[in-house]
Amino acid sequence: MLTAALIIALVIALAALGVSLAYALGTAAVVAFVVTDSLPFLAAAPQRIFSQLDVFAIMAMPLFILAGELMNRAGITRALIDVAMLMLARLPGGLGHVNIMTSVFFAGISGSATADIAAMSNTFVPQMEKRGYDRQYAGAVTAASSVIGPIIPPSIVLILYGAIMSTDVAALFAAGVVPGLLLAAALFATNAWYARREGHPGGAGEERPPLGPTLKKGAPALLLPVIILGGIVFGIVTPIEAGALACLAAVVIGFAGNGLTWASITQALRRTATLTGSIFMIIAAASLLSYLIVLHQVPDDLATLVANIHVDGIWFVLVIMLTFLLLGMGFDFMLGLTVVAPLLVPIAVMQGADPVAMGLLICLNLSIGLITPPLGGAIMMVATITGDGYWGLCRRVLPFVLAELAVLLLIAVFPEIALALPRALGLL
């Protein structure tokens, strides 16, 4: 216990000094081997790292990152925004709704909140400000709606979860659809509430993009999620192959629409490699910590502890959710995914929780962690791109956080909401 506290304190101290998460974890892992008298077992480190990365399922992650990078550069984002404008611009709080709707569309082709924010911060925040929204609110909607990205499939978090916890990625993907739409509904409601309270612009007078050309340009982009999801769910392609197909589609659409050049493809490849590499190093460092934890049979002790304090069923699931909520306030999601989830989830599954539902709940939780202060990765990114104050954004985002937490609680109590679709498709 003391050792665990020491290791966590070391990670926090290093991270607070600006050390990147991977190397803070890695250093803490090395120190942990020393203080637990396990030094000889560091000999397994290279194999441990190699094995954790040499997983076929992880491949979907770089492929969907690449697909997202290519789509951003291919002008697909612009087409999606226009379609959403067509549908929602005339409602009160119209641009807020458009922002959320575009994130729903975008979620169907991209795998992460980061891709969503990168695509939307530059486009929406200035536009919303021009139409009379306050700038921080525009940023807050952008950050809050980016959480939909990793929930509606494809999803890099779900892919990593599937790879780390040996859970079927196709089933996880199918389980994400309904919760993702529920998230969107909750955000629409919150935006509408804000619009009434603060008298946001929007209404019948709002201009809309022309119908014909907009649909024509948006159609391929909207068809893409149908193809990706349909292909995975009906077993025509694996999630990994779907990632490769999405890349191919982005390149084809990009060249057809003159949005893509060879130089931008090279850029997309380089960025993908860099991002993948960063995630790889975190997985690598975390794999040493988890090896040490297993060697000392901590999970067994933890299971015994949980059994002795008689927290089980839905209550234990809620305890896990609370743990991840707290984690999300302070840490990058990779820490929860690679170190904490493997400790707690097997116990919940042993108590009868569904592994797919647990996977979805944890990913939802980790994604909400992107917009929870004090440390919300998505808010920080929006603040960086738009040049807004971080804490002001946090304050404006808070009602959205509550709405999303309500969705989380709903699914934790009624996991069938998530499981009905994969069950209907025969994936469970």
Binding site: Y23, A24, F56, I240, S278
Partner: protein, 159 residues
């Protein structure tokens, strides 16, 4: 030092770019083969996996050099230059400790892999896994470079 880092970085970028392309191509070929050929080849998966590992770990070295790894606190925002330098120093030491340990224990592990070949392609396993210590070695060199010249990253960054 800096020249060495830049030279290694060019190599790493080459591996990363072509590795990702190879991986995507192998997966696309797998789809074509499954619906086009009678007996889908077993090597596509293995080739894609190896390409991903090499590309990803090469990407890890480019991420370090450009300070792209996820952080909780951006040391660039520290007000005091002395504090900023201290932070960069700690980061480099952390990289060297972690990667140094992995590099240090690699030789016996590489020897054990000398007794293996990969399942489908029959490649020497040693060569495939060598990317782990190789990436660690490059990361250590980059960490040293970042210690010596704080600005190495910003200069070579043009994405």
């Amino acid at each position: 030092m800096r020249r060495l880092s830049e030279w290694l970085d060019r190599g790493a970028r080459f591996i990363a770019t072509w590795g990702l392309l190879l991986m995507a191509a192998a997966m696309l070929f797998q789809v074509v083969a499954r619906y086009g050929l009678n007996e889908p080849p077993a090597w596509t998966e293995e080739l894609a996996r190896i390409a991903m590992l090499w590309a990803g770990l090469a990407g890890a070295t480019t991420a370090l050099l450009r300070r792209r790894d996820p952080v909780l606190v951006r040391s660039e925002h520290f007000a005091s230059p002395r504090l900023r330098r201290a932070a960069h120093w700690v980061q480099s030491v952390a990289v060297m400790l972690f990667c140094g340990v992995v590099l240090w224990v690699s030789p016996p592990w590489l020897a054990v892999h000398g007794w293996r070949v990969t399942e489908a392609l029959g490649l020497p396993s040693q060569w495939v896994v060598a990317i782990v210590p190789l990436a660690c070695a490059i990361l250590i060199i980059h960490a040293l470079t970042l210690l010596v010249s704080e600005s190495a990253a910003e200069n070579s960054d043009n994405e």
